[in-house]
């Protein structure tokens, strides 16, 4: 087998001084592959033409050099077609890695969803003859035939909705609910400061319900400020150095969840991993059976939230002693931000914890990094 990659890289090294252990290793492995497989590994003779904004003359010039164009021109293909396809995939991945390209894609989705929503709204309000209007700023589809497709597609969609075929998807398949959970998880991981009001219903007899506060920023910062079952303040948090705790008695401490749990044992069991909403959603995705329920408003006249119910999978009931039995999530329909979250534990047995914790989004306001730092609450500890 000839190894054009190996040879050309060797040439390249000689002429362009590309000394690198990485290249040497790659050349060596390529040579070994060549000996083992006896196949040819050609480099497609192309410069990719990926730019979305490239003028036509530039595009034509580069297309003429492309692998596929080479085939089209009647020349023998110089590379395995699937290898060529891999190169095109790599080009596409590199292009899509640009934030600007992803924004363009999101804009296309926005424009299509806008049209679909507009048509379904027209249908719901019994407006006759749904029309398709291209909004300003939305790139129009080219040609009359495309407009005709839009109209026919929109009409078809309107008819489907009017027929009530899929407006009510109660008991929807798990895969849809999991996708929704994914988007909520994504939103929870955003480095945005959010404050939640947390109502705790204790499992200990005679203990009163109490209200705590949670500040959370994405998946790695939080502060849980609890007035405590006996009126003595408790604080848990996570800053750039890791988990920390300010117990009601004793010095502040740092450590992992497991090291902290005994502190609260015998009083009101804290379920620290479930104080961080991104972590909650992470567990929901992997350890719970999720179903989508009909959306509902959290207050009269408020916007309808997306609602998911999650039940702990049986195999985790024996092993995860701190996991809530059920988790119910209300999230914003567009942003997927958690508006309300209910964690419920069994009232008896090994897995007994607080009966319930209910998180309610209070505000979404940037706060200083100091809010999450142990040093803010224990000046002499760092």
């Amino acid at each position: 087998m000839t190894d054009s990659l190996g040879r050309s890289l060797a040439d390249q090294k000689a002429t362009e001084n590309l000394d690198s252990p990485w290249v040497d290793q790659h050349l060596k492995s390529k040579a070994e592959d060549s000996q083992l497989n006896g196949s040819t590994s050609e480099i497609p003779a192309t410069i990719p033409s990926p730019s979305t904004s490239a003028p036509d003359d530039d595009k034509k010039a580069t297309i003429g050099e492309g692998e596929i164009a080479a085939t089209a021109s009647g020349r023998e293909p110089t590379a395995d077609p699937l290898r060529v396809a891999d190169h095109q995939l790599l080009d596409a991945l590199l292009e899509q890695s640009r934030p600007s390209r992803r924004r363009e894609t999101a804009a296309v989705v926005d424009s299509v969803m806008e049209k679909l929503r507009a048509n379904s709204a027209e249908c719901e309000s019994a407006t006759p003859a749904p029309s398709v209007s291209l909004q300003q700023g939305v790139r129009p589809l080219r040609g009359a035939w495309r407009a005709a497709r839009w109209i026919s597609a929109s009409l078809a969609a309107s008819v489907l909705i009017a027929a009530g075929g899929w407006l009510g998807w109660d008991g929807i398949n798990v895969s849809f609910a999991h996708v929704a959970a994914e988007s909520i998880h994504e939103a929870a991981k955003q480095p945005i400061d959010r404050e939640y009001r947390v109502e705790i219903a204790p499992s200990i007899p005679l203990a009163q319900r109490r209200i705590a506060k949670l500040w959370v920023r994405g998946g790695d910062r939080f502060v849980f400020d609890d007035p405590g079952p006996l009126g003595v303040r408790l604080l848990f948090g996570r800053d750039e150095k890791g988990m920390w705790q300010v117990p009601p008695v004793g010095p502040p401490r740092r450590g992992e969840f497991a090291a902290m749990r005994p502190v609260s044992k015998g009083a009101d069991e804290y379920v620290i991993p479930y104080l961080q909403l991104a972590a909650v959603m992470d567990r929901v995705r992997s350890r719970y059976s999720i179903t989508s329920e009909r959306g509902e408003s959290l207050f009269e006249g408020g916007p309808r939230c997306r609602k998911l119910s999650a039940t702990l999978l049986p195999k985790y009931r024996e092993t995860d002693l701190i996991a809530p039995e059920t988790i119910t999530i209300w999230s914003h329909r567009r942003t997927a931000v958690i508006e309300r979250l209910e964690l419920r534990w069994p009232e008896a047995g090994l897995r007994a914890a607080p009966k319930a914790m209910v998180f309610q989004l209070a505000q979404q306001t940037p706060v200083d990094d100091q809010v999450y730092r142990l040093s803010t609450y224990a000046m002499d500890v760092e």
Binding site: L5, L9, Q12, E16, L18, W22, V23, H26, I43, T46, I47, S49, P50, T52, S53, D58, T62, I63, G66, I68, A69, L82, A85, D86, H87, Q88, L89, L90, D91, A92, L93, Q96, S97, R98, R102, T105, V108, V109, V112, L116, R117, R146, A153, A156, A157, L160, G165, W166, G168, W169, F176, V179, A180, E182, S183, H185, G295, R306, K307, R333
Partner: protein, 177 residues
């Protein structure tokens, strides 16, 4: 949650991957955008045919592949020479991409970024200028003070090395999953 919300979630989740697929097929941004919109509309119409026990992304790509083949039949564009085998191959590759770590395509593309970071500096520079800075070959020639042929070869070699690295990561991720 109603159908419109679900459809939107699913489409947004899979939009970047679908666009990658279409751009890999067509190598043309405009054609890819048009096929993308047609795919969404068709998916909207056919959503009740979707087997909900299966993932949405491959179903969406299946629609896109059929539309692309139909588009190719009608088009005189000689650049659209993909065949069913190529479409299937790309679909498989994207399924492998799906197995990479991360929830979003951007997170999954960390694998590509790691490979790019491991390239020799001259190769990394060429790729970065071409794809991230979106410089055209003529601009690269001027900037790098190389001949057009040298720029072309440098990009070829950089892409070949990058592709090998990415394919290795995809294979590993697929096996791990």
């Amino acid at each position: 949650m109603d159908a419109k919300d679900l459809f939107e979630i699913l489409v947004r989740e899979n939009a970047d991957m679908l666009m990658v697929y279409l751009r890999a097929i067509t190598r043309d941004a405009t054609a890819a955008d048009d096929l993308f919109q047609e795919t969404m509309l068709t998916a909207w119409k056919k959503i009740d045919e979707f087997d909900r026990s299966r993932p949405f992304g491959p179903w969406l790509r299946g629609i896109a592949a059929r539309l692309a083949l139909a588009h190719r039949r009608k088009s005189a564009d000689a650049d659209l020479l993909f065949d069913v085998a190529t479409l299937e191959h790309l679909d498989h590759r994207l399924s492998q991409v799906q197995t990479l770590a991360g929830d979003t395509l951007d997170e999954k593309l960390d694998a590509v970024r790691h490979c790019l970071a491991a390239l020799p500096a001259a190769f990394r520079q060429a790729i970065t200028l071409r794809y991230h800075e979106e410089l055209r070959p003529a601009e690269l020639t001027e900037l790098l003070k190389l001949s057009g042929e040298a720029v072309k070869k440098r990009l070829q070699r950089a892409r070949a090395l990058l592709l090998d690295c990415v394919l290795a990561k995809l294979s590993t991720a697929e096996v791990s999953s």
